[in-house]
Amino acid sequence: MRNTPAHVIISLVFFIGIGMGFAYSYFFYPDDHPVDCMVKQITGKNCPSCGFTRSFSLYTRGEWDAGKTLNPLSWTVFLFFVTQLILRLAVLTHYITVRKILPQKVMLADAIISILFFLYAFLPVIKTL
């Protein structure tokens, strides 16, 4: 593990984290989430991020339209996490099969794509504040 390149360790951590998130979304039913929104509990009204976990639950089961009705902004965020899961898996499989560090250009492209997609997915969410 000590000689493992940094980007492989980071990819492994995020792959496990995102994978666990998807597993949680899949195994907890939309109406049975143990986490309640703090703002909704106090005010009784939906906050801008209300419905994210429920819609993620529906997306992981393949119910796209139903998920979009709960929170329309969640779709791009879900796509961001799906692409991240695929990218991290690609990095890990490359390291396991080839046993070589990724070229500098590929790593840079990975970082730029991730940052741009992150901004595309999350900027509309933060703008609702």
Binding site: R2, A6, I9, I10, V13, F14, G17, C37, M38, V39, T43, C47, P48, S49, F52, F118, F122, L123, V125, I126, T128, L129
Partner: protein, 173 residues
């Protein structure tokens, strides 16, 4: 026949030659030595003593920074990004100091520091917004209390309850 007093062959020239050669050799040797010393000094200046110094902390700092940045972009939940953000800043700073001391690469520590700071800034912004909203709600409630609207609302609610009870009793009869 006695031989003429022949002077013994002087060794002066030979010794001179020898010393000259020695001197040249020593000079060359010294040059080589200084060159070697110079190159080793150069090598120590460019190659770090421990190239992996602060690597682990840098990775941890970067991961926490990315997590903080992602959480901070979620409305209402963003204030919780302060926890990984602050830890990320601390870890990245320590890793940067370690990398600086060892002369190792510090790109990851810098990236972690930037992500953590961005996450903390957004979390702080959301915290300020939530505090503002809370104080405005409190203000509105106090104004309602002062105007007496809350009391009248309570009275009407109690009246409604009484009416409901009366309706239930009449229905049961």
């Amino acid at each position: 026949m006695p031989q003429p007093n022949k002077k013994p062959p002087s060794t002066f020239g030979a010794s001179c030659k020898k010393t000259h050669l020695e001197f040249a050799f020593l000079n060359k040797y010294r040059n080589i030595e200084t060159h070697l010393n110079y190159t080793t000094m150069e090598q120590t200046n460019t190659t770090p003593a421990n190239p992996s110094a602060g690597k682990g902390l840098g990775i941890a700092g970067l991961i926490l920074g990315i997590v903080a940045a992602i959480i901070s972009f979620i409305p209402c939940l963003g204030t919780f990004a302060l926890i990984p953000g602050i830890i990320g800043i601390i870890l990245s700073a320590i890793s940067m100091v370690q990398a600086n001391k060892a002369g190792a690469a510090k790109g990851m520590a810098i990236a972690g520091l930037i992500c953590s700071i961005v996450g903390c800034c957004l979390a702080g912004y959301q915290m300020v917004l939530l505090k503002k909203a809370g104080s405005e709600i409190n203000k509105g409630l106090q104004e309602l209390k002062e105007s007496g609207a809350l009391d009248s609302l309570n009275n009407t609610l109690q009246d409604l309850k009484k009416l409901e009870e009366a309706m239930d009793t009449t229905q049961s009869h």
